[in-house]
């Protein structure tokens, strides 16, 4: 029986953000922080099974970044730098420092943010798991376009299973938005979270497009044991990006899953949760055991 997670407002320097948290296991190890993708999925039903599985062994915190899903403070976020320091502010306020420095798991945009935290403040991150992460520009392997795409095209690029509830909803929305003529027939409340998430992601990732030109020469500073997971079927972020992360972070482990796409926590929650737990176990096992 997985622990129930609760979602609540949480006060930060930039305003009130939405925080999902819970679990704890035996309480012996540091908590896990999950950083969401440009979809702003933390707190949504879609990612709940994954977070609940993680919460069986660890206390889990999944904050919504400013601008996403009702979190305030987007006016104070202009770039990656601001996003990094906002996350550190959240860590501080949750006392996720020193011995409680968290295991950080990030999906896509969230993975990139996690890497940016880890090179700036190596001690702020206990372990690092980057799933489908962008952040490095690899010549010849550009990331596909996220902004302004039709929902159905995007679903094809980031899901293996087009009947997954989120993918199916994206196809449904595309059917009525095909050409845009019937946009007005969709209740605006259904569209609102999508528009808000994309605007918040654009603040950080519009230009340079989902990468930091300086990241390759900084990643050598990362000391957290790092696991990179990418899906061979991901048509949004090329797997070459994860390979490059693995090359640049000392001791990093790279796994490219043949049957996975981009939204791995949504489509393969059990396998990913198991893999993350094992990464944490091995990384934190006492030397020699």
């Amino acid at each position: 029986m997985s622990p129930q997670l609760e979602t609540r407002p949480f006060s930060t320097t930039v305003g009130s953000v939405v925080l999902t948290s819970g679990g704890g296991g035996d309480g012996g190890d540091a908590p896990i922080v999950y950083l969401h993708s440009s979809a702003g999925e933390s707190g949504a039903d879609s990612v709940a099974p994954f977070l609940e599985l993680l919460a069986e062994g660890h206390e889990v915190f999944a904050p919504m970044l400013p601008g996403f899903g009702g979190s305030e403070g987007l006016d104070q976020i202009d770039d990656m730098e601001d996003a990094v320091y906002h996350c550190l502010d959240v860590f501080d306020r949750l006392s996720l420092t020193a011995e409680r420095a968290p295991h950080v798991v990030g999906l896509s945009l969230g993975g990139w943010i996690a890497a940016e935290i880890a090179w700036r403040y190596p001690d702020a991150v206990r372990t690092l798991t980057l799933v489908s992460a962008p952040g490095i520009y690899v010549p010849g392997h550009p990331m596909s376009e996220l902004f302004g795409r039709r929902f159905d095209e995007l679903a094809e690029e980031v899901f293996v299973d087009q009947s997954h509830p989120v993918a199916a909803m994206m196809h449904q929305m595309a059917a009525v938005t095909g050409g845009g003529a019937s946009m007005a027939t969709i209740p605006f409340e259904l569209l609102r979270p999508f528009f808000e998430s994309m605007a918040a992601a654009a603040k950080i990732a519009w230009n340079p497009y989902f990468h930091n030109p300086k990241l390759p020469k900084r990643l050598g500073r990362v000391t957290a044991p790092t696991l990179l997971i990418a899906g061979r079927l991901d048509k949004l972020v090329p797997t070459a990006t994860s390979s490059e992360f693995a090359r640049l972070i000392a001791g990093a482990i790279l796994e490219i899953w043949d049957d996975a796409s981009h939204m791995i926590p949504l489509e393969q929650s059990e396998r990913l949760a198991f893999r993350v737990s094992r990464h944490i176990e091995r990384a934190t096992a006492p030397a020699g055991s």
Binding site: F147, G148, A181, M183, R192, A202, K203, W206, N207
Partner: protein, 399 residues
């Protein structure tokens, strides 16, 4: 009422087999430079003709990397018009401020055009179209704040003695000292085009500028947009002057209704079906969520989705017919919308040179004088209020 001839300078040569967007990714292999030579010169002639025919002004605008409008630099066109027109106002509608870095470039170039033309410039300022944010990779989530800051900088460059230092969030310039300065004092009349974004309406109302409704929607969408504009002015404590409102609409006049439609319709469809696709992309954060909700309400009436000529007529997407019909429909719509500026598109899509010339001549001879009789005023009335006074023609309140 002031009457303007607006030219988009469209690319008429998209091959029939190309069915992609006309924006952002429309392959520039489709651009034929020799056709470019022909149409740029022809289109300029059509604007110069408008001056000779007695229009109050001509309008050019700015778009990038597209087949819809070939004026990445409207200031180049305006500078030619400053020399080759004699009487009319030259409205640049507008410069997309966030695309100029530093925006003092706009203050300088507009001042040059105002000097060369002897004070005939209308200084349009615009956030820029959604596609431009892809073409320039400028962050759309900062579009509004960049626009507002660039605007403040430009107005300050025109109205405050230089040199001074400007320290903003996006622009930091140690020495602002614009040479030249505009002939019109305190600065040229400012127009802001918009498609219904509430932030833009509020900005225009606050600064007492003029708002140009972007076309290609059902007439009821314009009606709502201008009602919101009047409301925004009321919220600022004054009544909107009709000359603060402009309606942009395609116009085609021929001897009879039947002839007008038969000469015009195919060119109209080229425009809406070939040149509009791709224009309405809205990059993330470019429009606030509250405005999006408002804009989406009218989105389904966008001209790109038109299928029949009856829909075109019913929604008044283009005013097409004999001089009598055009006069009657324009009069009714001007009254309905309460606008003081009519911005006619007399060339559209693939409409050829001879039809465009005849259109302008017939309009000037048969329609223009009667519109002027019905709607006489051509000067902004002075407005006094909390924001200060506004002299005719010039917008006063400076941020």
């Amino acid at each position: 009422m002031r009457l303007f001839s607006f030219h988009l300078m469209p690319y008429p040569g998209l091959p029939a087999e190309y069915d992609g967007p006309a924006w952002i990714t429309c392959p520039n292999a489709l651009f034929d430079p020799s056709l470019g030579t022909e149409i740029y010169n022809r289109y300029l002639d059509e604007l110069i003709l408008a001056d000779e025919l007695g229009f109050d002004g001509v309008c050019v605008n700015e778009h990038h990397q597209n087949a819809y409008g070939l004026m990445p630099s409207p200031n180049l066109m305006a500078s030619i018009l400053a020399r080759s027109t004699k009487r009319c106002r030259i409205a640049v509608v507008g410069n997309a401020l966030p695309l100029y870095d530093p925006p003092t470039r706009v203050a300088e170039e507009f001042a040059m055009i105002d000097c060369i033309s002897g004070g005939r410039l209308i200084a349009g300022m615009v956030v820029g179209g959604g596609p431009e944010y892809y073409s320039f990779s400028i962050n759309p989530a900062q579009a509004r704040e960049r626009f507002a800051e660039a605007h403040d900088l430009i107005i300050k460059a025109w109205t405050e003695p230089g040199p001074f230092e400007f320290i903003g969030k996006h622009y930091r310039i140690r020495y602002v000292n614009s040479w030249p300065k505009p002939v019109q004092q305190p600065h040229p009349e400012v127009w802001i085009p918009g498609a219904g974004s509430l932030e833009t309406l509020e900005f225009v109302a606050k600064h007492r500028y003029a708002y140009m409704g972007i076309p290609y929607f059902h007439i009821s969408v314009f009606e709502r947009m201008f009602a919101l504009m009047r409301e925004a002015c009321e919220n600022e404590g004054y009544e909107a002057d009709p000359l603060q409102l402009g309606w942009l609409v395609p116009i085609f006049v021929a001897e009879t209704d039947a002839e007008a439609r038969s000469r015009y319709e195919e060119h109209f469809w080229y425009f809406v079906k070939r040149l509009l696709p791709g224009i309405s992309i809205s990059p993330p954060g470019y429009t606030s969520v509250r405005s999006l909700e408002n804009i989406i309400k009218g989105g389904h009436t966008f001209a790109e989705f038109l299928e029949t000529w009856e829909q075109v007529t019913e929604g008044q997407y283009a005013i097409v017919g004999s001089p009598e019909t055009v006069l009657e429909q324009l009069t009714a719509n001007i009254e309905r919308l309460g606008v003081g500026n009519l911005l006619g598109l007399f060339q559209l899509g693939t409409l050829p040179a001879d039809d465009t010339r005849r259109n302008l001549e017939l309009f000037a001879a048969e329609v223009m004088p009667k519109l002027r009789q019905t709607f006489p005023g051509t000067e902004r009335r002075a407005i006094t209020g909390a924001g200060g006074s506004v002299a005719a023609g010039a917008a006063g309140a400076v941020a």
